[in-house]
Assembly symmetry: C2
């Protein structure tokens, strides 16, 4: 199912809502939703620190939930919305799951594997390519990340002063 | 801890043992172990079909088990042994976990991301590089995969004849 501009914004807002859940528990605020036939079938927010499990990125959790929802590791009709450009691990998982389209908010110049540092999703050498749309609600995604890291720096400064 | 040639073979044999567990339940036979201080702290074999979870590759399962064993998503002193060259998802996870060294058996010309199709593990642009050793017990790993796929083809032929 093709999504119109309004639907795309609505789903990225849901991904941002997931990112806020991560921020609320002091995880780097990254959120993701997966959509099939116009409905959300998987949601996830970054849980790396709470789980101490390196695989617990927002996209991986959302993919696992979507796989469980449709009882299949293949998600060929699905759209994935994530607030930050996926890393190589998540990009690889998105390809493996045969996701049709990926929409991301802010670019990640340090580890982005959907156009910034490298472009796995559109690499013609793999057995599946993913259509990518960049910069959807990028300002909101960036603002959330920036305010999170600013708060961490302020807390660190404060605790240093109290030492 | 540095591993000698005999230890490396021993750990790859353990990875092959994991791959055999996958074959025994009709999963593509790929196995992995993760070693720290000369001891196995994580094991995994491919469970994609049984779980219908796209993330359930041998390496991912072994990484999660190792994370749980040391109660940390970081595994900076660890060595990973896997029978088939890691895909982009698993290579990304190996980088994210700061794994020190990766040893693989058979190369994967279709999706290998540790030297064949691309080389994520040694890419200097990431914040961490992984030392790679290729071709350890490659013949055994390949033979296991080949006999698995041959058996599948024979079963398909047989079931076609019976139709």
């Amino acid at each position: 199912m093709e999504l119109d501009a309004q639907q795309k914004i609505k789903f990225m807002q849901e991904a941002l809502y997931e990112a806020q859940k991560a921020a609320a528990i002091a995880e780097v605020p990254i959120g993701c939703v997966i959509v099939s036939n116009g409905k959300i079938i998987g949601r996830g927010h970054n849980l790396r620190e709470h789980s101490q499990d390196v695989t617990m990125h927002a996209e991986m959790i959302a993919l696992q939930e979507a796989n469980a929802a449709v009882k299949s590791w293949r998600l060929p009709d699905a759209q994935l919305f994530v607030t930050l450009e996926p890393c190589p691990m998540c990009s690889g998982a998105i390809i493996n799951a045969r996701i049709k389209e990926t929409y991301y908010g802010a670019p990640d110049p340090k580890a982005g594997a959907a156009g910034s540092l490298l472009n796995l999703l559109e690499d013609q050498r793999f057995n599946h390519q993913v259509k990518v749309e960049r910069g959807l609600l990028a300002a909101e995604s960036s603002a959330l990340l920036k305010s999170f890291f600013r708060e961490i720096r302020q807390k660190r400064k404060k605790s240093k002063r109290e030492d």
